[in-house]
Symmetry: C2
Subunit: 273 residues, 2 copies
DNA sequence: ATTTCAATGTCGCCT
DNA sequence: AGGCGACGTTGAAAT
């Protein structure tokens, strides 16, 4: 059970030592109060006084959140070194990152709440489904989803400066470079594919090399660009593929972290779904 | 002054109504406790039980933070609709986003702290310096930093599908497309420049079009690609440019949000720096 | 609403 | 440590 050290509306001086102690002992620290923020590093920013929530994690990550929005207005990644001290202007929380050198300073002029938490336990594994690699791996196993007669040579093939998702040969023996996207493909995806096709052509000047962009949809301009580059587009239904992936895994040995877990739990949740 | 509603180690049932009330009234909500997390939407994820910090902002943004790391393990952007209720399994906090449809569920089995905050005030303007546009604008005014004799035609010129940072003519009358980066340029930057050069060539088949990538450094492979595409690279010293930008602004009319403010404050801070 | 691009992007993987 | 690409990228600006 986590142990809490809590202060409500503490004087700055009193809070300073508690905060300094908390960060020194790598506790989770939560501070709510009125502050100004300064950041200098890769970029630079200033933020005048306002009520904000500041979080310092046991690993040294710092987050400054305004009352609105998903993203912190300022932050510092893990392993920043942190100090806290009372100055003439207020309570200064200072976080310094080494490489690249970046400094984040939060100057509190009023504290509403200071909370230090010790003994947090969180060892659970974070499990993600439905990412691009799952689609890519399935399509590599089942290239007929893209085109009949495709024979996969390899996945994640290093080509030139990057990696082609899948390289295959078609029925006629031509090389086929396949780029997979799980979201709408833009021209960046088209150019990525183009680059791999060109690189493979340079490697095999005698061979014909096709390029197929596989995605649930494609932006209009990206489609135009794709056509002009002589590339092809194959639409896929991501949801349908996920179901197939789950079904395929159901037929194989039980795996941990299987996409099956995802559908199983969905099932339990909504027996009528 | 913000008003706090605080509960320590509250029973789930009791907390449920407080939490539901807080989110309904768009208060900042901070919850610390043991929970599991499920997300389904563009992707999908599962996270087993562990101690976490959950934040619900007045605008409906939701953040689930583990004890380590900068980024939330799960989240929901602003304007998600949120409900909280006690179920047989625990206290379920549910956030639903409309388009795209995404559902985030946090199931608490133990609560260490529940805090609702009303009346947060934060109207200060967030001021950023040293972003790309500042470099671009300065270079457009001082193209000699890139090459002697350059004459800028325009900035942010729409070309093909995007915008070239700067388009100029060199001493020989050739078109010069300039792409500016404030960080190490990768091949994406090279390809971006290449695309603009090609587009301008199509627009002006008779003209010679050069392409210059301006960046503090360039990745090795990106350099190779750049060379093979017949493009050029001009190194810049970003810190030196910033100083020049500040100096240039010092000579012009006072502006709000000037980079000068940034250096001024630095000066005050370190009179001997 | 869609497209495009920057970002203190962050994060993970690989060399 | 550097390069590379995915990300539930997010966010802003322009069309």
């Amino acid at each position: 059970m986590p142990q809490l050290t809590l202060m409500l509306n503490p004087p700055l001086r009193e809070a300073a030592s508690v905060i300094a102690d908390a960060v020194a002992k790598h506790r989770l620290l939560i501070v709510l109060g009125r502050c100004s923020v300064r950041y200098t590093g890769r970029g630079a920013s200033r933020l005048g006084p306002g009520d904000r929530l500041v979080i310092v994690k046991p690993d040294g990550a710092v987050l400054v959140h305004r009352p609105r929005g998903y993203s912190p207005v300022n932050w510092q990644p893990e392993s920043s070194s942190i100090t806290a001290e009372e100055t003439g202007e207020g309570l200064l929380l200072r976080s310094v990152r080494g490489r690249p050198r970046e400094v984040l300073e939060v100057l509190f002029t009023r504290l509403d709440l200071v909370l230090a938490v010790e003994g947090l336990e969180d060892t659970a594994e974070f499990i993600e489904y439905l990412d691009e690699s799952e689609i890519r791996d399935y399509l590599a196993e089942h290239p007929e989803e893209i085109e009949e007669g495709l024979h996969v040579i390899r996945k994640e093939r290093p080509i030139g400066e990057g990696y082609a998702d899948i390289v295959a040969r078609d029925r006629a023996g031509n090389y086929v470079v396949i780029e997979v996207k799980r979201v709408t493909a833009g021209k960046d995806a088209v150019l990525q594919l183009h680059r791999y096709v060109e690189a493979l052509r340079r490697e095999n000047p005698e061979a014909k090399v096709r390029g197929i962009l596989v995605a649930p949809s494609i932006a209009k301009d990206a489609r135009t660009l794709l056509n002009s580059l002589g590339l092809e587009y194959k639409q896929i239904d991501v949801q349908r593929l996920y179901r197939k992936i789950a079904a395929a895994q159901a037929r194989t040995v039980t795996q941990t972290r299987s996409i099956l877990d995802f559908f199983k739990k969905k099932q339990e949740e909504k027996p009528r779904g």
